[in-house]
Amino acid sequence: MGAELGKYKQVVAARSADKEILKGAQDGGIVTSLFAYALDEGIIDGAIVAGSYEDDPNVESTASQNHHWRPKPVVVTTKAELLAARGTKYNISPNVSLIKEATRSYGLDKVGIVGTPCQMQAIRKGQLYPFGWRDVESSIALAVGIFCMENFPYQSILQLVEDHAAMKLESVKKMEIGKGKFWVYGKRGQVVQLPLKVTHKYEQPGCHVCMDYVANLADISTGSVGSPDGWSTVFVRSKIGDSVWAKAMAAGVFETQPIEKVKPGLELVSKLANEKITKNRNTLEARKTFGVGKGLRNPFI
């Protein structure tokens, strides 16, 4: 286990100590608890999270394009708003698009943001190279990254759920990727599983050059992989992450277990990270000679 897991100060299995949060959580409720705590303590004064178009009265709902499960980046400033925005939506929520707006229209001085590894890369690039992000750099107070193998455009989720799983998006209660399958849980109790193989051709193309699985550049990164059901694996990475995590632990926000003690443990995280990196490095390599004497662009310099 090495570079594929990024730099980190510690890694543990954790879950929220807040029963209310845990009840509605996908895994250990880490992101919700962290932000709720950070809001309470004034570590952040708002957070950019993936909300939903469903609750937005400005979006017209039509039969063909109903926007259920379409994520919409929102700025939340209270625990209630935070709780309302929960749940993994498995399609792209461009959270970084609000990073400047959060400091302007919303007037936040200390911004929290949750996002995919690529969004953490965007944040850090923006801190070092703020071409168009005036005054953003020092207002990013807590960046939480989510493990990510690949992501889907909204229309792909529509296709997978309504075409392959034969369910209406509006009747879906929960989606999940795990144990080699894409799971769709209906509100009436039905469960449909699709082999992951079916989903591959619907993945976002930009994900195929992505070299980061565990959000190496987040302050704290988390995901279900590596920990038992109901728990999450948590990497504490930066100085900011370290200080926030220590305070949250001292305040009893989380229950933890040593990662060495849980199954399947860090080996699985490492294995999946390596699989992703190897696959995508090959893609980048193949792009060089994609045409005849001509290739596709490589953004990583």
Partner: protein, 294 residues
């Protein structure tokens, strides 16, 4: 990398070398400070000039918006040789780094002379802001304005001279200008390790300068989405100064009539460029920059 170091060798006196040490960004500050204590401060500054062409002074304001940071820069690292508004001297002089704000009106003889003189007298030319890099809003000029109706053709400076470094954006941010100033200082006056770091940091900005003089929302289409690289982060939308970009179903959607051609979106895009080795050191580099300006 070759570009700046060769320029550096030709035109700038060699900086005193410090004994080699591991190239860690965190060490950089320490060295900056030691250097300052050992040599006379003024001698150790880099000389900087500021040529102001057809720009709105927004870039100057952005530079000034570093407040205390600007004073520290001028105090310790930068000897501002000429500037239309911030210095008493306006005429172009020999400098290590010339920063240019604004595009060049080719019907304005003085402007054309000034940009050429700027190039001839500077080791490194930095195009600051959308107008100098890409023409930006001045691209839309068709002349006819009072009191110089015949001034109708405005070119990004790279169409007339060779430019080394770009800082796109409208206005460019105070933080970006600050970061480039600190890195330019390290490049010219730093130790070997500091120069390496600065070169790595500045390389993407040099690549942009080498790439050309046109920018607009279109690069997000041609260089990112068309190349299968967009992952829908939204950095571009956050960067756009005129809100020409919205994210629709996870991809940028450009209101192209609104676009002023500043180049912020594509430069901000992590799939435009992403120098993993530099960005991964973000904590140490940020700390170094902040400490340098304490």
């Amino acid at each position: 990398m070759g570009l700046l170091s060769s320029v550096f060798k030709k035109n700038v006196s060699e900086a005193p070398q410090k004994p080699a040490a591991p190239a860690k960004a965190a060490d950089v500050v320490q060295k900056v400070e030691t250097t300052n204590k050992e040599v006379k401060p003024v001698v150790d500054k880099i000389s900087v000039g500021y040529t102001h062409l057809s720009g709105c002074t927004g870039c100057t304001v952005a530079l000034a918006d570093n407040y205390g940071g600007l004073l520290t820069l001028l105090d310790r690292y930068v000897d501002l040789k000429y500037h239309l508004t911030l210095a008493d001297v306006r005429h172009i002089q020999k400098v290590d780094v010339a920063i240019v704000e604004g595009s060049v009106c080719i019907q304005d003889k003085l402007a054309v002379e000034e940009i050429k003189e700027t190039r001839e007298k500077a080791a490194i030319v930095v195009a600051l802001g959308g107008c100098a890099c890409y023409g930006n809003i001045t691209r839309f000029s068709r002349g006819g304005q009072q009191n110089q109706p015949a001034h109708e053709s405005y070119l990004p400076i790279g169409d007339l001279i060779k430019v080394d470094v770009y800082i796109p954006g409208c206005a460019p941010t105070p933080q970006m200008i600050r970061n480039v100033c600190v890195m330019a200082y390290l490049l010219l006056k730093g130790t070997k390790e500091q120069k390496e770091l600065a070169t790595k940091f500045l390389t993407p900005l040099m690549n942009m300068a080498a790439k050309g003089t046109s920018a607009c929302f279109c690069e997000l289409m041609t260089e990112v989405i068309n190349q299968g690289l967009c992952m829908g982060c939204g950095s571009c939308a956050a960067a756009c100064p005129v809100r020409a970009i919205t994210m629709e179903f996870g991809k940028p959607n450009g209101e192209r009539d609104l676009c002023i051609k500043c180049g912020a979106c594509y430069s901000q895009c992590p799939r435009g460029f992403f120098n993993t080795d530099v960005v991964s050191e973000y904590e140490a580099i940020n700390e170094a920059i902040m400490a340098a300006l304490q």
